[in-house]
């Protein structure tokens, strides 16, 4: 019973926060300001693994302008927090487990005062040998534990955070191997990528008169932040109120806490508002990264290209604390075979504790690493069989009705072969015109390092599979409140949720849904805060599905109540009523009454929760189970120019095709696909946090490179809309899938251009010129 509205779903109305953002009026979390406020700052460890022998804050406390200095001992409540496993101390005690771990915090009248006070804190360390390699992590008897077993978190598996097997068909045995005509083996490495959102971690904690705290914060999930913050402050949850402040991008990096607890502790202690804004360097230390991974794949196929088996092992470095590692493992294991039908599978995915930086959520979440490996395998196999790599993929592609290695049937459209066909059918960019060369178009661009000699072009393809929403039995839900009333002679809908708008455009979509369901023009979006029920996280491509679904349910409930009011008042017996253009309309009898007249002074204000259909945990030994709510697919074609003399790559074009089920806002959908693709491009050729002996070597935008507009090519996008009958409006989560296949597509194109094997990302110049280890 939905109705068309130009700014309803399927349209592309402008963002409600757009004007504020282009005029500089939009208040991001680092823009918070309060009369009388203090600046908070943290002292961070220069070592990756050390025992703390003593911390002397006496000089820092005396520094003029300093209001508080706090260490572990000053924490009023519980000392540990964490998303899945509460293993992370709010301030370090006893031991340092990674480079940059926070030890003490100060509040001062100026950031420079805070910096100077930090410099006066004396910490004595006893250095411990770092546990950083897979070999060291897996042999704690020899190399030791990152967390002593059963120390405090009831986690007795040594340095293994979590592991998951998936076995299907006959598994992978000698008999199964014998069924294959060709066998392809490969070892792959994925470097540590950073979310590198532009808005630094920041926010302001304001002490309230009731002894509670009001926190204005950039985050992905207000309620789960509160759940972790309140116990550390020793406060009941209802005394910790969070309001979303403007978020400058997130990409998973704000799923864990960063400065939240520190700001609240300092505000509690000083009785004054405390603002914390990370520097870029501190941001690199203060959030979790994408898990670096080692992947070993063995794929068997028949001579005519049908996959027979896949045997794979994925080892993820989880770093010092667990964060979201268990769920990342679940995704890597269950999606690690790609969107292919493989009769026999044996998979093991593991995340390890180490003294490297903690890793957790980042766009693509475990599926990115696997996609790089399985797509490289498909290209190798195609070469071995002398087949077209796209045809080989299409031959083995899953479709609706296929069974995943977890035993789960894909029960909605899965147009993998068609997505590949579409990117392949797009016209190729014109060849490089070496006679009229604009040097801005060639690798190395403006540095005038070449005039086109030594440049070769390659084309590569890839496709990936990602889940939407939280999996493995998690009761994922979201809450929305919708209010309808007459204001100034017009019906106005208000939508209130706790959804974190991190830039993805959820606020636009909520307005579209309310307009569609209620037939009104004006919709206001209430600020997101903890005064309404949880919306869950802005991650896992789930917000439009989950909170969009909740807004739809609440708006439908409001509509039903409004119509019930009309039925009661006017005695309508029609069952063909809808709300269009501010009026109640019967399909048979035409306009009945305006919403304004029907509603009068009545206010309808209803709250609804949206739960997705239940999933179950994967079986520990076999990985079997209906673990995922929804699957989503994206395919890429990359065209690259490689200067083989300089080792430089320029991506000439990056085309994508994705099935989005239903594009609620086509403009935003395309923007998400292009943004996600660009992050994958970054992983392919430049983005890596370099960690040596547990120390981060490049925590700045000078040394950690993300793609600029010169590194990023035109990106044609084909959007398919094959409805998923289980989802609201048939939609499919969009944000993550494009980050998967862009990386292997770019690398495949570089391989095609150069003939090099290239088994690790990012591909660096030395890998292309043969001057470094590959």
């Amino acid at each position: 019973m939905t109705t068309a509205h130009p700014d309803g779903i399927g349209g592309s109305p402008l963002r409600p926060d757009g004007i504020l953002k282009v005029t500089g009026q939009f208040a991001y979390s680092s823009d918070m300001w309060h009369e009388d406020m203090l600046w908070g700052m943290a002292l961070r460890s220069p070592h990756a693994h050390a025992r703390i022998l003593s911390v002397d804050t006496s000089e820092a406390v005396k520094h003029p302008g300093v209001y508080a200095v706090m260490t572990y001992d000053d924490i009023p409540g519980s000392k540990f927090y964490g998303l899945e496993i509460k293993d992370q101390p709010a301030l370090a005690t006893g031991k340092i487990r990674y480079h940059g771990e926070a030890i003490a915090i100060v509040a001062a009248d100026h950031p420079e005062t805070a910096r100077r006070a930090l410099a006066k804190i004396k910490v004595e360390y006893e250095l411990l040998p770092t546990i950083t390699t897979e070999e060291q992590c897996l042999d704690p008897e020899t190399y030791g534990y990152v967390h002593t077993p059963d120390e405090y978190k009831g986690h007795a598996s040594g340095n293994v955070v979590h592991s998951q097997k998936v076995v299907s068909g006959l598994g992978v045995t000698d008999e199964v191997r014998a069924m294959a005509d060709v066998v392809i083996k490969g070892d792959y490495v994925v470097g540590m990528q950073d979310q590198a959102f532009l808005g630094p971690e920041s926010g302001m904690a304001v002490p309230a008169e009731d002894g509670g705290i009001d926190l204005y914060i950039a985050t992905q999930w207000l309620h789960v932040d509160r759940e972790q913050i309140a116990p550390v402050l020793g406060l009941p949850e209802n005394k910790v109120r969070l309001t979303l402040a403007g978020v400058g991008g997130a990409f998973g990096g704000r799923e864990d806490l960063s400065m939240q607890i520190h700001a609240c502790l300092l505000a509690q202690r000083t009785g004054k508002p405390v603002k914390i804004v990370y520097s870029r360097e501190e941001s690199f230390f203060g959030h979790v990264h994408r898990h670096p991974a080692k992947l070993t794949y063995e794929t068997g196929a028949t001579r005519d290209g049908k996959l027979v088996y896949c045997d794979a092992r994925i080892v993820l470095d989880g770093g010092a604390y667990a964060s979201a590692s268990p769920a990342v493992v679940g995704n890597a294991a269950s999606l690690g075979m790609g969107p292919y039908e493989i009769p026999n599978v044996n998979m093991l995915a593991v995340a390890l504790y180490s003294n490297n930086p903690s890793c957790g959520a980042m766009r693509g979440f475990g599926a990115v690493q696997a996609c790089f490996a399985y797509e490289a395998q498909m290209d190798k196999l195609a070469a071995e069989l002398d087949m077209d790599p796209v045809e080989l993929r299409q031959l083995n592609a899953v479709e609706q009705g296929s069974i995943m290695p977890t035993g789960q049937e894909i029960d909605s459209p899965a147009p993998v072969a068609d997505l590949l066909r579409r990117v392949k059918a797009l016209p190729l960019p014109a060849p490089l015109d070496t006679t009229h060369l604009d040097i801005r178009e060639i690798p190395g661009a403006l540095s005038n390092t070449s005039h086109g000699e030594g440049i070769v072009r390659g084309v590569g393809y890839a496709v990936g599979i990602k889940n939407v929403g939280f999996s493995e039995g998690f009761d994922d839900y979201s809450t929305a409140r919708v209010r309808l009333e007459v204001i100034g002679g017009e019906p106005v809908a208000m939508v209130h949720t706790a959804m974190a708008e991190v830039g993805q455009g959820g606020v636009t979509v909520h307005g579209q849904i309310a307009r569609t369901e209620l037939g009104v023009e004006r919709v206001t979006i209430h600020p997101a805060n903890t005064e309404v029920g949880s919306a869950g996280s802005t991650s896992a491509s789930r917000q439009t599905y989950m909170t969009g679904g909740a807004v739809k349910l609440a708006a439908e409930a409001v509509r039903n109540e409004l119509l019930a009011l009309g039925r009661k008042r006017y005695g309508w017996t029609y069952n063909d009523l809808s709300l269009v253009g501010g009026k109640v309309v019967s399909a048979s009898a035409g306009v009945l009454v305006s919403i304004v007249d029907l509603l009068g002074d009545t206010v309808i204000d209803l709250t609804r929760e949206h739960h997705h259909r239940p999933t179950v945990p994967f079986d520990k030994e076999t990985g079997q189970g209906f673990g995922h709510v929804q699957y989503t697919f994206c395919a890429h074609r990359a065209v690259v120019d490689v200067d083989v003399e300089l080792g430089l790559v320029k991506v000439v074009e990056l085309a994508a095709a994705q099935d989005v089920g239903k594009a609620l806002n086509p403009l935003s959908v395309v923007g998400q696909i292009q943004g996600g693709s660009t992050q994958g491009l970054g992983l392919a050729v430049m983005e890596e946090i370099i960690v040596k002996d547990g120390k981060v070597r490049n925590p700045s935008f000078t040394d950690y490179l993300i793609p600029t507009i010169l590194d990023t090519p035109p990106q044609p996008v084909e959007v398919l809309e094959l409805a998923d009958e289980h989802a609201p409006y048939g939609l499919r989560g969009v944000g993550e899938a494009p980050t998967l296949s862009s990386t292997p597509a770019v690398v495949a194109a570089i391989r095609q251009a150069t003939g090099l094997a290239l088994n690790r990302v990012p591909v660096r110049p030395e890998h292309l010129t043969g001057t470094g280890e590959s």
């Binding site: 604009d438 935008f701 990023t712």
Partner: protein
């Protein structure tokens, strides 16, 4: 120290400025002009770009004291108070070039400057001019669209006025 300068056409002064403070900090924390953004404070991302005496600069790299007696124009000063949004601002909203928007103020100032110098830039001109402004969200395609749109609108306006 006290710094007196012209911000967006208005004489302003900031007191108790510490000598190590950047122009960015002074604008954001002392003058209530938080539009310029603090993403790296190292001259790498362009989010803090403002006009200083008519030339775009990274305000995080300019010491506050250096702007004594000079003219600063920030994103807050781009829009004409009479006519509403500047063409560049409107085009960024219309083209979907704003996602989280953290890069937007710096990109707007840089694009504004580009179109002042070159009303009809080629794609390569645009990419070159904006190469110092990082955006993590959009993949830049919509930003290209926005600049082309702003250019087209500016050109058609100048044709009309000729």
């Amino acid at each position: 120290m006290r710094v007196t300068f012209n911000a967006n056409g208005r004489e302003v002064e900031a007191d108790d400025v510490w000598e190590g403070e950047s122009l960015l900090f002074m604008l954001r924390e002392r003058l209530g002009l938080p539009g310029s953004k603090n993403a790296c404070e190292q001259g790498e991302c362009g989010s803090c770009t403002v006009y200083l005496d008519g030339a775009p600069v990274c305000s995080c790299l300019v010491a506050a004291g250096q702007v004594q007696g000079r003219e600063v124009r920030t994103v807050e000063g781009l829009a004409d108070p009479e006519t509403g949004l500047d063409d560049v601002q409107q085009a960024f909203v219309d083209a979907g070039a704003v996602q989280c928007g953290f890069c937007t103020p710096g990109l707007l100032v840089q694009t504004h400057d580009l179109l002042e110098r070159n009303e009809q830039p080629s794609d390569n001109d645009i990419r070159e001019a904006l190469s110092g402004n990082l955006c993590r969200c959009t993949g830049y395609e919509k930003i290209m669209d926005a600049v082309r749109l702003a250019s087209a609108r500016k050109c058609s306006k100048s044709e009309v006025s000729q």
